[in-house]
């Protein structure tokens, strides 16, 4: 029971770029939304949905599927675009993003019944706790599914994340994988100026997590990183994925002004050309 599986980094990059183009198109159509983080997560999402996750787009509620909780709800466009490209729904629906009556809410809303949405998020610092609930339930019921939780780095300033981090290692949840989008930026600027997160790997290590780091845009490196995660280690794993906000569109890469902005139609055309070359 799997969607299509891709392990070739070249093909994964192609999927990621297709996802990026959809993100830009949907945000331009919506006229609002969060472009920067959505773009920088495209490589990670392509890898997850086309290579890592055990899932079936034709059966979104398949009991044994791996679960993905998007704790950083404002990058919903990357989740939506990835789900559409993976076959959960038609790519055309992406153009309804943020519009009245759409299943594609500004932040993921489970009640709106978009296939593939596991959990409503948008208020930061809540997804890791829900992921722990899923992981504990899997242990209780001896289920094999894994739970993946996508966190923003600025989001780690929420204290509730650390309550959750403590609980995950206390319960030895080696079926839980957190991925931190470490782009170093948040709305007001650099994370380290707004509220210092470093030494970040040490923080997670001291909470007794298995800590891995990788380049969040390098698919061959990420594939190797995911292979290093083994179950039965007795520890939850966190991958600190170093990314560049706006990745894929060179003219906006690393610019925090694009955290919470949508491109105009003209900018969208230009950005897409930057991707397609």
């Amino acid at each position: 029971m799997l969607g299509k599986t891709i392990t070739d980094p070249v093909l994964l990059k192609q999927e990621a770029d297709a996802i990026r183009i959809s993100i830009i198109q949907s945000l331009a159509e919506a006229g609002s939304g969060h472009l920067g983080g959505s773009l920088d997560l495209a490589d990670i999402f392509a890898l997850l949905y086309f290579s890592v996750l055990n899932h079936d787009p034709d059966h979104p509620s398949w009991d044994e599927r791996d679960r993905l909780i998007l704790s950083i709800g404002h990058v919903a466009p990357v989740l939506y675009a990835t789900l559409a490209h993976a076959g959960y729904f038609k790519v055309e629906e992406l153009l309804t993003l943020r519009k009245l009556g759409s299943r594609l809410q500004g932040h993921p809303g489970r009640d709106h019944k978009l296939p593939g949405i596991e959990f409503s998020t948008g208020s930061l610092g809540q997804g890791l706790s829900a992921s722990i609930g899923l992981a504990i339930a899997a242990k209780m019921d001896k289920k094999e599914y894994k739970t993946f939780c996508i966190l923003g780095d600025g989001e780690l300033q929420e204290g509730s994340v650390w309550e959750a981090a403590m609980a995950a290692s206390h319960y030895r949840l080696d079926n839980l994988i957190a991925i931190v989008d470490r782009n170093g930026l948040q709305i007001d600027g650099q994370t380290e100026n707004i509220m210092q997160l470093e030494p970040l790997p040490e923080k997670w290590k001291s909470f007794n997590w298995h800590v891995l780091e990788c380049d969040g845009h390098d698919h061959s490196q990420m594939l190797k990183t995911f292979k290093k995660i083994h179950s039965n280690t007795g520890k939850p794993a966190v991958i600190i994925a170093h990314t560049i906000m706006g990745k894929g569109v060179p003219s906006i890469e690393g610019d925090f002004h694009w955290h919470g902005k949508a491109p105009t139609k003209e900018q969208a055309e230009k950005f897409i050309k930057e991707i397609t070359g």
Partner: protein
């Protein structure tokens, strides 16, 4: 209702919660309990001892407790999370709003230490705003049973009958346990505990016993109040409240909670829209509690049968002849 109520013995409503949780645990393996350290003082210890594998201790971390409960419910568990009402509803209010209510998950939140009857712990530990905050959350059911027996029955109903988020509040101190095991309860359906048509006293939680005592005093004065036990704050029983307004013309509410946004506010919303009549409210009036013996505090803040009686008499003076 013909039934005469008498106090069998004083029992804390939290015991009813613990017994109800245990009873459903025996019947349904999906029921799991989440503890935030103070399990024995909120009645969860019975379940934890009986089903250690279905008890999840998460420490003093209410925000995480709430989110973990949501995750468990996503895959079909029925999580019951309980701590003091102040911490169960306010510390984690945004987690309840988004992770539980917006996701519309069947999670039961038990709020212990409701009201000033908590006593010597003082203001920080006396839940007086929980009803107000919980009842504005979309999808949430809000329960406030009147004694230990009813708390047990409503805990079971909350776990087995509701299909969404539930908040149930209960107290710390032994209080009169007066309802019968056989008295039927239905979530969303108020109970008329004393028939009368001169005035309606709508009460919830511990105040229902006080209201019944007040009704006996008023009966002796030849005034016959209707006493309505509103054990479900949401969904509220509009029909019974509107009928009370129409048939008695006066309403007095009684709660161990802020009147603003609490039972008083909820009743006023219904009455003012449907059948405006004079309403007065017994409860906390925009201030915090304090330390003291439970009974001393109930007296100080006017949460007693005699205060209800006096409130009713005052209201009756305004009734057009």
């Amino acid at each position: 209702m013909k039934e005469k109520f008498f106090n069998r013995e004083d029992r804390a409503t939290k015991i009813g919660f613990g017994e109800g949780l245990l009873a459903t645990g025996e019947r349904n393996p999906k029921v799991v309990a989440i503890g935030a350290d103070i399990t024995s003082s909120v009645g969860v210890n019975l379940f934890a001892e009986r089903f250690p594998n279905r008890f999840i201790s998460l420490g003093i971390a209410e925000q995480n407790c709430t989110g973990v409960a949501a995750g468990l419910a996503l895959v079909g568990k029925i999580p019951v999370f309980s701590t003091y009402g102040v911490f169960a509803t306010l510390r984690n209010a945004d987690m309840i709003r988004v992770s539980i209510c917006y996701n519309n998950l069947h999670v039961i939140i038990g709020g212990a230490h409701a009201g000033v009857s908590v006593g010597p712990d003082g203001a920080t530990h006396q839940a007086l705003e929980d009803i107000a905050v919980m009842r504005v959350m979309p999808n949430m059911t809000v329960l406030s049973p009147c004694d230990a027996t009813q708390t047990r029955l409503m805990t079971i109903a909350a776990i087995e009958q509701v299909r969404g988020p539930v908040y149930i509040r209960f107290g710390r101190e032994p209080m009169p346990d007066f309802t019968s095991e056989n008295l039927p309860i239905e979530i969303g359906k108020a109970q008329i505990f004393h028939e009368g048509s001169d005035i309606s006293i709508i009460s919830t939680g511990h105040m229902t016993w006080e209201a019944l005592q007040a009704a006996n005093m008023l009966d002796q004065l030849g005034i016959h109040p209707r006493v309505i036990n509103l054990h479900t704050i949401k969904p509220i029983d509009e029909e019974t409240i509107i009928r009370a307004a129409m048939e008695t013309g006066l309403i007095l509410t009684a709660e161990e909670h802020q009147i603003t946004g609490g039972l008083g506010g909820a009743v006023a919303e219904i009455v003012s829209r449907n059948c405006p009549v004079r309403i007065e409210m017994i409860g906390m009036r925009d201030h915090f509690g304090e330390s003291g013996k439970p009974r001393e505090l109930m007296e100080k803040y006017g949460l007693t049968a005699s205060a209800i009686k006096q409130g009713a008499l005052n209201l009756l003076k305004t009734k057009p002849k």
